[in-house]
Symmetry: C2
Subunit: 344 residues, 2 copies
DNA sequence: TCAGCTCCTGACAGCGCTGTCAACACAGAT
DNA sequence: ATCTGTGTTGACAGCGCTGTCAGGAGCTGA
């Protein structure tokens, strides 16, 4: 920057003014500075600018996610990126793999980078650290998770309601025994979905059999295994609700292996690729992660521009029931039924 | 930091020493400083540290990708993240959506953030800017693309060779007319794959019909349409090579629509989700994007630690042919055949 | 006792930029 | 001729930290 100033024969401050397009700069001087800049290939140093300028210009945002290679988190990221780009913000992201230590370390590093805002789409954890940071004045938005006892904006899906709706649908098809395959119950979304399942059975006077509630099968292999066990057991379920994309994948694999894909109904949480092309096509509750990221970005930007308000905003992004073939399969045993089409 | 120093009754420099775990610090002083740090909740400012410290400590890495929500780029990101985390590096990423202007703007912003290294996994573009930056001393690694006339490390897949192998395989099954559906030919990987297709036909004395070479159908909808057109035309192909995951998806959709999925052979480039569960299961050339990201990270770390070497390193990550059902379908018309199983 | 050494500590400049404030030029008004 | 106001410019301090260097304490051996 000094070189530019020297070459243009002006002061440092004048270069700064030109670079920032401030007013009260004569056209002549601006022109000289601009020429010097291109001749020297000068690029301002963002770090120094942020250091010297007033704090929290909203130029750097931290994004904490479970796994960047997971479609859900990648889509949230994209939504966030697209909303915040308009303000010229950059995003520093990191994956935690649901490891609390990694999560804490990552958040600390982001804080040290003096991000102007933090978006957390991650498993539970680091609550204390986050609360301290919020108290310290950094805007934090939680996506797909909660943060108790802190004024923290939140964006979540309609986990419980949508699960309940899907399971009620299976009940209306005549299914008496509906299994639930869910993920790690330490995660809030997982408990919400289980609660939705129970509510559905409760509301429709359905059978609440603990044997049909299988949790902590959050990866493909365990879901495959659990499905096999479920279907080869006595009093096997006639329908399965899978509470997560990886579980849905595992269950589909098992169903195809056993050749049961046409007689066991399946409803999954999370859209999966090729849900339409599979045979039978797969009914799912589709979240909208891109929209969740967009909302998170907007909430963050709002906080950044208006730091006075402290009431946290809770946003629910409605998930959509996508009715396809697998969720329309009716139970094999003769049952009274009110609706439903054939079994493909 | 001043507060910490005051509270501990020491100088700024001593706090700095403790924070950086330098030697020649008495246990007593270190203890006092540490206590003051926790009491005050002090967190060092990474920006200021990087600004004051010697340059290029490899703490910040820029990653330019086409689309963060795309599985390929997300996996590259993950590989990059996992390799560079060991050095305590953070990654700033941005998506370009293959828009050259966005790409240039993004790279410039990253340069202004004084990233210590740059990984570019993107469509072509910004070559001049990158060359300048390389000349300026910033290590740059190109993933899945080339950068001519610059000492730039590169990580690519075996696009041409693997495509050739897959098409040769189809030829050996007896397919005389094999269509090629490819993406934007301004992109290097797309031209490589087309070249591999042509080499395969050439090497096996196959028919090179321009009508069977369809390019610039890089999204699902256009691929679906192109497949329909291809199969309803006279002298329709008996096998299709799709040069990209989105094209493969579109072609599968069309094949299922037309009920032709069992008599038209399909081999795709890029692994797709549920390739095993679809019926017929889908043969693909599987890239290893995570590994590509890992290699890119290693190359970058090497450059960062040894700035002397200037010879660029070219890395090819071998793609794998995953033979499944769709690529084993033999042509309908009676043909001499040497191998292959039934048509599902 | 004192040079010569190691170990520890702090003063100070400076990284590259921006905010503040003062200075100056020149217009129009008195 | 003097005053006020507006537009333009630069000097300088300081953002939060680290590198350099000098100085003091404490130990060794002569």
């Amino acid at each position: 920057m000094g070189d530019v100033a020297a070459r243009a024969g002006v002061s440092l401050k004048s270069v700064s003014r030109v670079v920032n397009a401030e007013q009260h700069v004569s056209a002549d001087l601006a022109e000289r500075v601009r020429r010097a800049i291109t001749e020297l290939g000068y690029r301002p140093d963002r770090r120094a600018r942020d250091l010297a300028a007033a704090p929290a210009s909203g130029r750097l945002i931290g994004y904490v996610q479970v796994d960047a290679a997971n479609l859900f988190f990648a889509a949230v990221y994209r939504g966030l990126e697209d909303t915040t780009r308009t303000r010229g913000s950059l995003i520093i992201a990191g994956s935690t793999d649901a490891d609390p230590e990694r999560e804490t370390a990552l958040i600390e590093t982001l804080i040290e980078s003096r991000v102007d805002g933090l978006v957390i789409a991650a498993a539970e954890g680091s609550d204390e650290l986050l609360r301290r940071e919020i108290a310290h004045g950094t805007p934090v938005v939680c996506v797909d998770r909660l943060l108790a006892n802190a004024p923290c904006d939140t964006v979540v899906s309609s986990n419980r309601d949508s699960t309940r709706a899907a399971v009620v649908h299976l009940r209306e098809l005549g299914h008496a025994r509906i299994a639930f395959l869910g993920g790690d119950q330490r995660v809030w979304t997982a408990t919400e979905r289980l609660a939705g399942y129970r509510e559905a059975l409760h509301n429709t006077a359905g059978e609440l059999d603990p044997d049909l509630e299988i949790v902590d099968v959050g990866d493909v292999a365990r879901a495959t295994q659990a499905t096999r066990r479920l279907l080869t057991a006595q009093r096997a379920p006639t329908a399965i609700f899978t509470a997560q994309d990886r579980i849905t994948t595992g269950t589909i694999t098992a169903l195809h292996e056993l050749g049961r894909q046409y007689d066991v109904a399946l409803f999954g949480f999370d859209e999966i690729p090729f849900s339409e092309q599979l045979n039978p096509s797969v009914s799912v509750v589709a979240q909208d992660p891109y929209e969740m990221g967009r909302r998170a970005g907007q909430l963050l930007l709002n906080r950044l521009s208006d730091r006075s308000s402290t009431t946290p905003v809770q946003t629910v992004v409605e998930a959509t029931l996508r009715h396809r073939q697998s969720g329309q399969i009716v139970p094999l045993a003769p049952q009274p039924r009110t609706e439903g089409d054939d079994r493909c």
